[in-house]
Symmetry: C2
Subunit: 343 residues, 2 copies
DNA sequence: ATGAAAGCGCTAACAG
DNA sequence: CTGTTAGCGCTTTCAT
């Protein structure tokens, strides 16, 4: 038989230490007023003795602001998002914030439901990995005065803080790598060009040719989807060309694996007859598919940078009067640490 | 220039609707006291008009209990944990709970740090995926009266609620599958036997032989680590036997991939010369490594069951007086939906 | 069926 | 340097 203890409160500590409750707060928060060293010690001892843990909920209510950050993403099971989440959590923990995990499941409706939950929970801020191109979730949060940072996607039509990888640089590095291997005819398998990421990666691909003084052949750029099968189909199409390219730069590793299969079906050896390179959406791809070379995307770093930026915004908000503040617009594109990661 | 609105409060709604604040609560919570239909309608309209969202923090403070659940796991980047997390989040959202994501990073110290955070946040309960065999995190939470459900691991020396997959059944199914393919000599690559999971899987392996009237050969059981290299080494050892086994049951797919490499190095074709099967720790393994057959582990389902159980405990606690309650001990081992998942 | 009011644990302004 | 106290927004008991 054990009695479940009531939580120890600040008043308990004050009584135990023989001081007023306010002093206990000053000790815990290291301010805003000074405390005599002796008193300080007494309080610390009382806290220790009673095992006091400040009630974060009461604190949040009083401060009108919790120390919790919402993280909305389509699906943690996708290793891509998982890696971003890891970076977010790391920084958040360091700075004393907790993460509320919200799966939008690639659905705008679910995003909106979670936005309402987060609003009710009075989160200090939100990191948003958009599931669609609809800016609604951002609007709703902004209207409630919740700072938002958008991760890895450019949603058009809103003024917001974005943290995205340097896709241009990635495409450039990939192509440069292939050129330096001696390739001159390099196919490019991309997504539909309406996406910001596609545009940037292809722009990098083309810039590499320009910088190396190699003439471009636009027929080598094939627009596909984004799944393995799409890559396979696109690669087949490239291998049908005469002469066929000796290297392929694919939008991501799913399509790169598809291209690899297409190459195998032709009896081509990778990377002896043809070199294939793609961006890593699956971190393990380079590991389980040895013939593949990948461009590492700075997912973890993006998560970190996003969290840092968001916490900056939160702190800034704390110190400014929350009136008549125009939307603080800023487009942040961080340098990608993209690098060739071959094994 | 837009003015950031103060959050609408219950009192605002009461004033707008011309009723007392209590009524607003009764409407929101559907109780505990009845409200006249007319009044009810007036309140709903006022809520709608003002866009009122109840403040979950104030609610939590008053109720001495938040609607938040802590999820402690080693690392979301591991697809195994990610899938469990997905199940947890699904159920939690359904039942109106938010998830606070805590990475222990395989470290007891970090687990304990997060336990303290969760305790401060006055979470309603915790789902714990232990990083080590140390029961300390569970003890700390129990002492604070926080319900805990332990996921996928049996931590010895504590009375707790466990939700684990049916590893015995998985080992049995895997071996039965190989036997039914015509194999009689089946190697078993396992982890050190101190782990509950290893023991159970090997027990299933042996039971399959017994049930099919096939004599066992204990020299076919090789204890290894759990990484790819360990599997490769163990498989080499098995292939050195005369006669060598024609099939291998590996503890997980990392080791199965290792075994596959060892087979390739011997010039054996998989699955023509030798069949290899393992538990899926990486969901994509069967996808990226076509020759592999895997046993699907019910990770998602475990997450769901764990969350359901935890929420039951939370509800039960709510309705009982929190005094003199002995630890409510229960060992729950759910049937695995393990099934052969070959492609 | 409704209103009034206490109080959850904390921060910080006010008063010594 | 320290004590006292007013709320933060809500639930619920006590009145009516």
């Amino acid at each position: 038989m054990m009695t479940i203890k009531r939580h120890v409160t600040r008043n308990d500590v004050a009584r135990e230490a023989g001081v007023s409750p306010a002093i206990v707060s000053y000790v815990i928060n290291n301010g805003p007023r000074p405390v005599a060293p002796e008193t300080y010690k007494k309080v610390l001892e009382a806290i220790e003795r009673l095992g006091y843990k400040p009630n974060a909920i009461a604190r949040s209510l009083r401060l009108q602001r919790s120390s919790t950050i919402g993280l909305i993403l389509p699906d943690t099971q996708n290793p891509y998002f998982a890696e971003v989440a890891r970076g977010v959590e790391k920084i958040a923990f360091q700075k004393g914030f907790s993460i509320i995990l919200c799966h939008s499941d690639y659905s705008l409706e679910q995003e909106i439901r979670y936005v309402n939950v987060l609003d009710s929970e009075r989160v200090a801020g939100v990191l948003w990995f958009p599931a669609t191109n609809d800016p609604k979730p951002h609007q709703l949060l902004s209207e409630s005065g919740v700072p938002v940072v958008v991760l890895d996607r450019i949603v058009r039509g809103i003024q917001a803080h974005f943290v995205v990888a340097d896709n241009f640089r990635g495409g450039y590095i990939a192509t440069k790598h292939l050129i330096e291997l001696g390739h001159r005819s390099i196919g490019c398998i991309t997504r539909p060009m309406d996406l910001y990421h596609s545009q940037e990666r292809v722009r990098g691909y083309r810039a590499a040719f320009a910088d190396h003084g190699i003439p471009e052949d636009l027929s080598l750029i094939v627009k596909g989807g984004f799944r393995l099968e799409d890559g396979r189909r696109a690669a087949k199409q490239l291998f049908d060309l005469k002469p066929a390219p000796t290297a392929i730069f694919a939008y991501n590793d799913f399509m790169a694996i598809g291209a690899l299969r297409a190459a195998n079906e032709r009896g081509l050896r990778v990377p002896l007859d043809v070199s294939i390179i793609g961006f890593d959406d699956i971190p393990q791809s380079a590991f389980t598919v040895p013939a593949l070379t990948t461009i590492r995307q700075p997912k973890f770093e993006m998560g970190c940078r996003g969290a840092e930026l968001l916490i900056d915004l939160i702190d800034k908000k704390k110190h400014t009067r929350p009136v008549n503040s125009p939307l603080d617009v800023q487009l942040i594109v961080r340098e990608s640490t993209a690098c060739v990661n071959s094994n």
